[in-house]
C-alpha cells in the first residue's frame, strides 16, 4: 500500500474506533441510568419508609391514623392468596408442561394449545381481572374472596409455570427416557420416576418467578373488587375443635400488600405516604428475594448440570 492510502485507511479506522468508544460510553450511561433509577426508587422508599417499619407495623390493622396503621390484614391476605395460587397453578402448570413435552401428538390441537399459551403470556393482567370479575365473582358466585383472587392469579402465572416446566423437561436428554422405557416402564412411570424428579429444580424456578409476579399484581385483584380497608382476619384454617381444619378463609373478604400500598399512595396526607413507602419497601424486598432465589437457582443449575 502506498503512503497516502495508508494514511487514509488509518484515519478511517481511527474514526471508526472513536465511534466505538462513544457508543460504549452511551451504553454504560444507559445501563447506569436504568440501574440508578431503580436504586433511587429503592433508596427513596427505604429512607421514607424504614422509620415506620417496626413490629407493630406487621401486627396492626390499617387505621384512620397513619401512625398506628399496619399491614397485618395485607400480608396475611397476600399469604393466603399465594397459597391458593400455588396449590392451583403448580400441579396444573406442571401437568400441562408434561403433556406438551411428553405426550402431545403433532397435530393442530397441540398447535392451538401452544399458540394459546404464548398469547396468554402477553395478555394484560387487568384483562384477567375482568375475566375473574365476570366468571369467578358473578358466574361461579365466589364473590370478592381469597379463592377468587387466588384462582385469578393462578391463571395469570400458568403460562410462566408451563414454559418453565417445558424448558426443564427439554433439557433432559432422550437417553434418560429410552433407558427407562428399555427397562419396561410405561410412559407414566417414566414421567413419574424420571422426568418429573429431574426437571423439578427447573419447574421450581418457574414457580418462584410466577409467584413473585403474582404477589406484586394489583390490577386484577382490584378489578374483582377486593376491599381496600379490612380490619379483620379471615377465620384461621386450623381450629381447636374437630374437624380441626376449616376452609372458611377461602371465601372471606381480604386485602393484599399491593392494594394496601395503592390505598396509602392515593391518600393526600404525607403521613400515609410514609406508610406506602414502608409497605412498598417490604413488597420490593419480598419480590426481589423471590426473583433472586429463582435466578440464583437457574444460574446454579446451568453450571452444575452437564449430562
Amino acid at each position: 500500500m502506498d503512503a497516502p492510502r495508508v494514511r487514509e485507511i488509518r484515519s478511517v479506522i481511527a474514526r471508526g474506533k472513536r465511534w466505538d468508544v462513544v457508543f460504549a460510553i452511551v451504553g454504560i450511561v444507559c445501563l447506569m441510568i436504568g440501574l440508578l433509577t431503580v436504586a433511587a426508587l429503592f433508596v427513596d422508599m427505604a429512607v421514607k419508609g424504614l422509620p415506620r417499619i417496626s413490629l407493630e407495623f406487621f401486627t396492626n390493622f390499617p387505621s384512620r391514623r397513619a401512625e398506628s396503621a399496619g399491614i397485618l390484614s395485607a400480608w396475611v391476605g397476600s399469604t393466603l392468596v399465594m397459597v391458593v395460587t400455588a396449590v392451583t397453578a403448580v400441579p396444573i402448570g406442571a401437568a400441562a408442561g408434561v403433556y406438551l413435552e411428553e405426550y402431545a401428538p403433532r397435530n393442530w390441537m397441540t398447535d392451538v394449545i401452544e399458540i394459546n399459551i404464548t398469547n396468554l403470556a402477553g395478555v394484560p393482567s387487568i384483562v384477567y381481572g375482568l375475566l375473574a370479575l365476570g366468571l369467578f365473582v358473578y358466574q361461579f358466585g365466589l364473590g370478592q374472596s381469597v379463592l377468587a383472587a387466588g384462582l385469578t392469579l393462578a391463571l395469570l402465572i400458568l403460562p410462566v409455570v408451563i414454559v418453565a416446566t417445558r424448558e426443564a423437561i427439554r433439557a433432559i436428554p432422550a437417553a434418560m427416557r429410552e433407558g427407562s422405557y428399555a427397562l419396561g416402564a410405561t410412559q407414566w412411570q417414566t414421567v413419574r420416576y424420571h422426568i418429573l424428579p429431574y426437571s423439578m429444580p427447573g419447574i421450581l424456578t418457574g414457580v418462584i418467578i410466577g409467584l413473585a409476579r403474582a404477589i406484586g399484581e394489583t390490577a386484577p385483584i382490584i378489578t374483582i373488587g377486593a376491599l381496600t380497608f379490612i380490619a379483620f382476619l379471615p377465620s384461621p384454617p386450623f381450629q381447636p375443635e374437630p374437624p380441626f381444619l376449616s376452609f372458611e378463609w377461602l371465601f372471606a373478604p381480604f386485602t393484599v400488600m399491593p392494594i394496601q400500598m395503592f390505598n396509602w399512595t392515593s391518600r393526600p396526607e404525607a403521613a400515609f405516604q410514609v406508610n406506602a413507602a414502608a409497605a412498598g419497601f417490604i413488597l420490593v424486598l419480598m419480590t426481589l428475594a423471590m426473583n433472586g432465589l429463582a435466578i440464583w437457582l437457574r444460574y446454579r443449575l446451568r453450571r452444575n448440570i452437564n449430562w
Binding site: I13, G16, K17, W19, D20, F23, G27, I28, C30, G34, L35, T37, V38, L41, D44, P91, I92, A95, Y99, Y103, A104, I113, N116, N119, L120, G122, V123, P124, S125, I126, V127, G129, L130, L131, Y138, L155, L158, I162, T186, W188, A212, G216, E217, T218, A219, I222, I224, G225, T228, P258, M261, F262, T265, S266, A276, A277, L283, N291, G292, I295
Partner: protein, 306 residues
C-alpha cells in the same frame, strides 16, 4: 400349549395398565387445554358483556364521541378519550424504553466484558420483577416532583411522569430479550464482519442487529404490550380524569386506569357502568392483538435464516 403362569398373569394386567395410562394422559391433556378454555372464557366474558353494552350505545358513538362520561346523567361513551391516554403514555414509555433497551442490549452483547454481562443480566431480570404499584408510587412521589421542578407548570398528575417510569420499567424486558436474540446470532457471522476490518459498532449495527431483527422485534412487541396494558402506574400517577389529549403534560385516564377507577367504586352488576369496563377491556385486547399480529407479520417477513 399353555403359557407360564407368570406371563399370563402379566398379560391379564395389561388391560388395566393401558386403561390407567389413558386416564392419566387424558388428565394431562385437560390441564394443557385449560389455556384454551382461559382464552375462550376471556373472549366470552368480554364479548358477551360488550354486546349488552353496545345494545345501549351505538358502536359509531363509541368510536367517534369525544367525551367519556359514562356515569353522568348526560352520559357519553367516546372510547377515543381513553385510547388517547393509553397511546400517549405508551408512546412516552416506548420513546424511552426502545432506544435505551436496544442500546443496553447491543452494549451487553457486543461491547461489554463477560464479567459485566454476567453481572448485569441477572440484575436486569431482577428489575423486571419489581411490582408495578411500586413504580406507580415512584412516579407520583419521586419523579413528578423532579419534573415539576424542571417544568413548573406540570400538574401533579400527568402522563409524562407515568410514561417515563413505565419506560424505565420496560427497559429490562426489551434489553434482556433483545440481548438474547443478539447472542443467538452465530459467531461465524460476527467473525465474517470483523474479518472485513469492521469495528465493533459497525459489526453490531450492520450485521448483528439485522440478523437478530426478528427476536428484537418480538422484544419490542412485548414492550408495547406491557405499556398498553400497564395499569397501576397510570392509576396512581396519571390521574383518572377522562381527557382527550395528545399532550403528555396533562393528566388523563387510560383504558386500564378507567377499569381500576370503576372497580374501586361500587357499581351494581349488570348496570351500564359495569358493562363499560368490559367494552373498555375488549378495546384493550383488540389493541394488544393488533400489535401482536403486526409483530407476527414482521417476524415472518424477517425470519432468521443464518
Amino acid at each position: 400349549m399353555t403359557l407360564p403362569a407368570a406371563i399370563s398373569k402379566r398379560l391379564a394386567t395389561r388391560r388395566g395398565r393401558v386403561l390407567r395410562e389413558c386416564a392419566i394422559e387424558f388428565m394431562l391433556f385437560l390441564a394443557a387445554s385449560l389455556s384454551v378454555f382461559t382464552t375462550l372464557a376471556i373472549v366470552y366474558i368480554l364479548v358477551s358483556e360488550s354486546v349488552a353494552f353496545f345494545r345501549h350505545v351505538p358502536v359509531i358513538d363509541f368510536l367517534t364521541d369525544t367525551q367519556w362520561t359514562p356515569l353522568f346523567d348526560d352520559a357519553h361513551f367516546g372510547i377515543m378519550v381513553l385510547v388517547s391516554g393509553t397511546l400517549v403514555s405508551s408512546i412516552v414509555a416506548l420513546a424511552l424504553a426502545v432506544p435505551m433497551g436496544t442500546i443496553i442490549a447491543i452494549y451487553l452483547s457486543e461491547f461489554s466484558t463477560p464479567g459485566i454481562r454476567e453481572f448485569a443480566k441477572p440484575l436486569l431480570e431482577l428489575l423486571a420483577g419489581i411490582p408495578t404499584i411500586v413504580y406507580g408510587y415512584f412516579a407520583l412521589l419521586f419523579v413528578t416532583p423532579i419534573l415539576q421542578w424542571l417544568i413548573p407548570s406540570l400538574p401533579g398528575f400527568n402522563l409524562l411522569s407515568a410514561g417515563l417510569v413505565m419506560g424505565i420499567m420496560i427497559v429490562p424486558t426489551v434489553a434482556s430479550l433483545s440481548e438474547d436474540a443478539m447472542r443467538a446470532v452465530p459467531a461465524a457471522l460476527r467473525e465474517g464482519s470483523y474479518a472485513m476490518g469492521a469495528t465493533r459498532l459497525q459489526t453490531a449495527l450492520k450485521v448483528v442487529t439485522p440478523a437478530a431483527f426478528s427476536g428484537i422485534a418480538a422484544a419490542y412487541i412485548l414492550g408495547i404490550s406491557r405499556a398498553v396494558g400497564e395499569t397501576m402506574i397510570l392509576a396512581v400517577a396519571a390521574g383518572m380524569q377522562p381527557n382527550l389529549t395528545w399532550n403528555p403534560m396533562e393528566p388523563a385516564a387510560t383504558i386500564t386506569s378507567y377499569i381500576v377507577q370503576v372497580a374501586l367504586g361500587d357499581l351494581p352488576h349488570g348496570s351500564i357502568g359495569y358493562q363499560t369496563i368490559f367494552a373498555a377491556g375488549l378495546t384493550l385486547m383488540l389493541i394488544t392483538l393488533m400489535f401482536n399480529i403486526l409483530g407476527h407479520m414482521l417476524r415472518r417477513r424477517y425470519r432468521e435464516s443464518y
